[in-house]
């Protein structure tokens, strides 16, 4: 069947079998191998992409059912110059990525949390941990990922009014460390 999709802002048109999964189209059809397959059963979260803005597991979506939608993958997160997004940079600084296999899924899942809370209070540590229930990580133990999200949220809030990014990041890392140790 004929399907059109917008992937990272680019229109794609192709023909697919009804039983094809979105993750198969992204990796095998479109060569976007940043999206990983860890379990193929909906448990691990390495295949998370954004579908019309919401984070979803691309191994639990039919390509046909995604037809007409906008898909965002990890490849679209980084600007063309290779610069990291605020969330990616914060995860890097907090050592929130080790082997890196879970990282694309983490970034796509956590991106929705960061975006959806952008206008208001930063998510609490409990909310961040709850948001991570769909993403398994074998390496980090999650603490550094949580700190990364806290740093990203703090930097974004500090940048919004005045203040330099550098002093905001320093303040953010202090706040993040305090909040994690305090619980």
């Amino acid at each position: 069947m004929d399907i059109t999709l917008k992937v990272n802002g680019r229109p794609e048109q192709f023909s697919a079998q009804p039983n094809e999964l979105l993750v198969e189209r992204l990796r095998d059809g479109l060569g976007l191998t940043g999206t990983k397959v860890g379990c193929d059963t909906g448990q691990c979260g390495t295949c998370v992409v954004r579908l019309d803005g919401r984070s979803v597991k691309s191994c639990l979506v039919l390509t046909a059912s995604a037809g007409g939608s906008e898909v965002a993958t990890i490849e679209g997160e980084t600007t063309r110059g290779g610069e990291l997004t605020g969330l990616q940079e914060a995860l890097r600084q907090e050592h929130g990525t080790q082997c890196g296999f879970c990282t694309p899924g983490m970034v796509m899942a956590l991106g929705e949390l960061v975006d959806s809370t952008a206008g208001g209070a930063a998510p609490t540590e409990a909310e961040i941990r709850e948001w991570l229930t769909g993403n398994l990580c074998r390496c980090t133990g999650y603490h550094s990922v949580v700190r990364g999200v806290q740093r990203a949220c703090a930097v974004a809030r500090a940048e919004a009014p005045a203040g330099t990014a550098e002093s905001a990041a320093v303040a953010a890392s202090g706040a993040a460390a305090q909040e994690v140790r305090g619980t």
């Binding site: 069947m1 079998q17 009804p18 039983n19 999964l21 198969e24 193929d40 059963t41 909906g42 448990q43 979260g45 998370v48 579908l51 919401r54 984070s55 979803v56 597991k57 639990l60 979506v61 039919l62 046909a64 059912s65 037809g67 899942a109 929705e112 949390l113 948001w131 229930t133 769909g134 993403n135």
Partner: protein, 277 residues
């Protein structure tokens, strides 16, 4: 990869969906796919044609019924929407809590209330909340519209060829709660309980510990008039026939019967606290 082969169609409206579902052998509705796709992959379920209803606008939306006493929740409301909807949080808090306890954010973003109520073969979270709320399901079928109490829906498969269009939920205010012990790996309930405190007494429903989601009228009768202290609730559960509780994977019937009693005591306590506020 899904090895099973099937056809796929995306109907433009509910009438077309109903015609496809009742007129095609092996046709199944596809909503969020968060139960159906894993089941098709594992072979636990099969389908000849998937009728994709996910985008049907007429099955969405949350509002009050015209008389104001009930909420009407469209079947394609996602679990994420249900968990955060202000009206549901205020008037049917056990449903919002059951949705919030479901899986993870990605499953909740796609999974729908209709799919969770109808997902066969496994204990799921929403049916207990619907039982405690005394909710009624609205169905559309080849022979027109009908309503089915949540209790009947939990007892057997939905009539073939029909689409669940909405859930009608009596408005309760804060007097309701949901508690769950989740399986660490799958997030599905080991057991879960939902309670609603009404002027006529408590309504109590459990799942996971029993063969399917059930209202426990014996426990309700024993607790009528309160108080709902932990000891009284556990005693009310111990008075149930032993066969009511069935062993699970690595869990004895005795353990599940006790655990679901503890969860119920917690839920009743929480609902009472919310009422007093």
């Amino acid at each position: 990869m899904i090895l099973a082969e099937f056809d796929y169609v995306r109907p433009a409206g509910l009438d077309e969906a109903l015609a496809l579902l009742s007129g095609t052998r092996g046709a199944k509705a596809l909503a969020g796919g968060q139960s159906l796709l894993p089941d098709l992959r594992s072979g636990a379920d099969r389908a000849g044609l998937l009728v994709d209803i996910r985008r049907l606008a007429e099955l969405r939306g949350i509002g009050r019924t015209t008389d104001g006493t009930r909420l009407r929740i469209g079947a394609l409301t996602t679990l994420a929407e249900l968990a955060t909807d202000p009206l549901v949080l205020a008037e049917a808090p056990e449903l919002a809590a059951a949705a919030r306890a479901n899986g993870d954010p990605q499953v909740r973003n796609l999974g729908t209330i209709g799919g969770n109520l109808l997902a066969a073969g496994r204990a799921t979270d929403l049916p207990v909340a619907a039982l405690a709320a005394d909710a009624v399901a609205e169905l559309a079928g080849p022979d027109g519209r009908s309503t089915v109490p949540a209790e009947e829906l939990a007892a057997g498969p939905a009539p073939a060829g029909s689409v669940l269009t909405a859930l009608l939920v009596p408005a309760a205010g804060p007097a309701a709660a949901f508690e769950k012990t989740a399986d660490r790996a799958t997030r599905y309930p080991v057991c879960a309980t939902a309670v609603r405190i009404t002027p006529g007494g408590p309504r109590i429903a459990v799942t996971g510990a029993t063969s399917r989601a059930l209202r426990l009228r014996g426990v309700e009768d024993r607790l009528r008039g309160g108080p709902y202290g932990t000891d009284a609730v556990l005693a009310a559960f111990r008075a149930e026939p032993r066969e009511l509780f069935v062993p699970g994977r690595g869990t004895s019937a005795e353990y599940l019967g006790h655990l679901v009693g503890v969860l119920t005591a917690r839920a009743l306590h929480r609902a009472e606290q919310a009422l007093a506020r």
